[in-house]
Symmetry: C2
Subunit: 523 residues, 2 copies
């Protein structure tokens, strides 16, 4: 519907918003609307350029928009029902903000005049949305909706994170004209020549410098520049949990920063300069008594190459050019692992994945204690993209897979998850089934929050007593992940044998549509 | 462990906090801890007076604490993992705040020195927790933990809502002595004589006054005063969605305020004074174009009988005494409905529940379009407590049932839910199975967000198109609630016939332990 027709046909603010989002290239909205969002639902009915995707729980919407944005660098949107709807989405928005993913939240609110009555669903929305958003606009009236849409798209792309629109019901139902088609152009631009020269000077002056790369440096173009830098003798280290990394055979695999800060101290011992490109200065996930918070040694200088709004992928290419790193020679691809037999465990799961992962696979990783083994095993697997858990909020894996699959038609998505992590947002299975997405879910079942047992042991505490063991265990009753998949329309199988797991995984990748494998890693 | 032993044995701040909570009467903590909460887990191991209840998702923890607090007027606690853990709990905390339920959130955070490094799980916790909390304390050090616990219990009871403690990991792991046993006394007190006299004068001066009651006025003691007031000729109207209402045979059933504001305008036509006792002035759930936001007619005066910190149940008793309302005559109990045959629908579900509900049942109501029929049908059912959805955030029903069951050993809990509402926090089933709680879940399945179709029709909009219908439907794939129950260890049955539903429900109530009935209301 064009703006002129809209005006003639009684266009609402909701129509203006949704049309403007479509004009700006938004193609998907992950939605769990309520009464206050019904005019937005009507507007979606009138806008064929946007696909509205239903979800059962808002954490699926935000995770899916994150997955979509990681794969396309374009924002998808969520549609959420007031404060509670936003709050249910917020843990995965925390992850999305850490991933620096462009996305747009459309949060319905009461009509402006109704807010002061403090109705049951009223909440302080501006305060609620701020912590996970890079930008917030409370849209005052229908006539502002098209402009707000354009500003949201522009800001989400430029500031790279969740841009949130609070949409009072009367701004959605009110009539309005639009100011014609709106578009958004945000071209990636790197640092200026002066900034590059300064970094080069610093690198050359340092005794033992390292280049710490993250974000879009770890996609193909940036990685090629990283390979050139390493070939020219510079040390390049990748962040531990990148939002997206191109990996596998034929691709450069930079050294990865270790998870624990005290191991990082060893890894970075002697480093006197860390030039960060698209990565924050490294810091431990958690603090521990008598252990360092930071990976970098005392006295190591931190220098950031790219500034706000500059693209790190451009930056690392410019840096490689500036130091004259001209040829990239890829390391020999390590031999592919061969399928193994016997009881299923972390390592045999990893081996099977490495054997059967198809080319161009996207891995959505919420696997916690499983992930390390799979990352190691898949170094020489066919080329693939790996999406890490960026903000530590479990329940990212399945929702992210929804968005990644929709963003990348024809590519297979592997959602790696654990029996604890999966239970935060298992509702994603329903959307996966409903849209018949090419998602294979592997849930590794060890009947516990294994990462916490590991952390507990690491802290050198006394043994856990019955209450503590109870809190960390996932047995009694054992969760039946195949029944869970059945409940939401996804076919599944349970395996406890390595060979069978490998065969089932191969079969799942050879066929289209969703499938779940419950990988029992307990005796 | 006593304070002296603790000090001798290397008591931590976590020990001091948990012991102080136990001293103050906290008996249950609903927990989903992470690395930063492991010292609190250890402390729970050493404190036999507190039961730690594991949950798979934090929204179960907050809903359970709400249910516990509604049944006991004592706070239970949640144990949550930093910002994302809190955010997952927050929608049900929104409901708890609206229910005015005392509860305590223990939110783990990074060690104070680690916060400034902006680690992946760092977030602006003080901002995040504020909107759903009546009080927040960021505990600076181990030595403050016991005092913070006491203040949290006191505040949760006095201010009646979620009191939130932010607990840096170093405040938990740090060593500390305690200041001995701490206790909290908060006795309910009503308004003073002057406030009562003023209200009586206002009521007598008004042409057409009404008394609008909510909160604890709707428990047994307050209801008896309401009955006396009505018998003495005063009009008493109850809030639409009370946190807890005593109902059923032998109990006074006050007139209930209608849901929609424009119907409220008719119900309250001519009312010139509304004396609110434990209820906020009524307001529409949502605003609609050209419809009023408020139930009360223009010019109607609002007077609040009880002030902050005063108990409305004491207030309504004092008011009844002051107007000389001395005898309460209960209305004749209407005849119990008889079980019906045929296809299952809202009305036959309601009839069956009214027929088979045991005495002292607790109903946790997240049933949305089902609820009205069941409320109507159960007026003459055996005495029971009804817990409404207070804040409009779906996903309250099953978690609330967990807490209500633990708070009320020996009583049966009926969790009423819809196929949409259930999918927000279905993870509660696992905790229900794990603790073998006496919870019967009835999920009414109509394969849609029926309330939205209803609201949509009411708004007089044009027909929904394909995208809108898609967003409001829950078919394709149909969700299999029995498989969902199986996945989490709860026995279940699917019914589509009224007689079978009645028989299964009777059987479920006659036996102990959890059971789920999927009530198919679609042809």
């Amino acid at each position: 519907m064009s703006a002129i027709e809209g005006q003639a046909n009684g266009q609402t603010g909701a129509d203006a918003l949704i049309s403007a989002l479509a004009d700006c290239g938004v193609s998907h909205i992950f939605a769990n609307p309520g009464t206050s969002e019904l005019d937005l639902v009507l507007a979606l009915d009138r806008e064929p350029r946007i696909k509205a995707v239903p979800v059962l729980f808002e954490g699926v919407a935000s995770g899916a928009a994150d997955g979509f944005g990681r794969m396309t660098a374009r924002p998808a949107a969520t549609l959420l029902h007031l404060g509670p709807g936003y709050l249910n989405a917020a843990a995965n928005l925390h992850n999305a903000r850490r991933a620096r993913t462009p996305l747009i939240n459309l949060v319905g609110d009461h009509a402006v005049a109704h807010r002061r009555h403090d109705a049951p669903l009223t909440s302080d929305l501006n305060s609620i949305v701020a912590p996970q958003s890079v930008w917030v606009r409370d849209v005052a009236a229908a006539r502002e909706m098209a402009d707000a849409a354009r500003e949201a798209v522009h800001t989400a792309i430029l500031r790279r994170g969740p841009a949130t629109l609070i949409i009072p019901a009367d701004a959605a139902w009110g009539g309005c004209a639009t100011s014609g088609e709106v578009t958004v152009q945000v071209a990636p631009v790197g640092p200026n020549e002066q900034a590059i020269s300064l970094a080069v000077d610093k690198l050359r002056a340092a005794r033992q410098p390292a280049i710490f790369v993250g974000g879009r440096c770890l996609q193909e173009r940036g990685l090629e520049a990283c390979a050139r830098l390493v070939q020219a003798g510079w040390r390049v280290i990748a962040e531990t949990f990148p939002a997206r990394q191109a990996r596998g055979a034929g691709r450069f695999a930079p050294e990865r920063l270790t998870y624990f800060a005290e191991m990082g101290q060893t890894q970075l011992a002697g480093t006197d300069l860390l030039v960060c490109v698209g990565a924050k200065a490294p810091v431990g996930y958690f603090a521990y008594p008598d252990k360092p918070s930071k990976h970098i040694p005392e006295g190591c200088q931190i220098h950031h190459l790219v500034a706000f709004g500059e693209c790190e992928a451009e930056g690392i290419v410019m840096l490689a050019d500036a130091v004259g790193a001209s040829t990239s020679v890829l390391p020999a691809t390590p031999a592919a692992p061969s399928q193994n037999d016997g009881a299923l465990n972390r390592e045999s799961i990893a081996t099977a994945i490495a054997c059967h992962m198809p080319a161009d696979c996207i891995v959505s990783d919420d696997g916690v204690t499983l992930s390390g083994a799979v990352i190691a095993a898949t170094a020489s697997a066919p080329p693939h993209d790996w999406l890490c858990l960026t903000g530590g909020a479990l329940g990212q894996g399945l929702p992210l897979a929804v968005g990644a699959a929709l963003a990348s038609p024809g590519r297979r998505v592997l959602a790696l998850t654990g029996d604890g992590a999966m239970m935060y947002t298992a509702q994603a299975l329903w959307t996966i089934a409903r849209l018949n997405l090419d998602v294979v879910v592997v849930v590794a079942v060890n009947r516990s929050y294994e990462i916490l047992r590991f952390e507990f042991a690491r802290m050198g505490k006394s043994e856990l007593g019955p209450a503590g063991r109870d809190l960390l265990s996932l047995d009694s009753p054992n969760i039946d992940y195949c029944s869970l998949a059945t409940a939401m329309g996804v076919d599944s199988v349970r395996c406890s044998d390595s060979r069978e797991f490998g065969e089932r995984l191969r079969w799942a990748f050879e066929n289209r549509g969703p499938f779940l494998i419950e990988a029992l890693c307990v005796p």
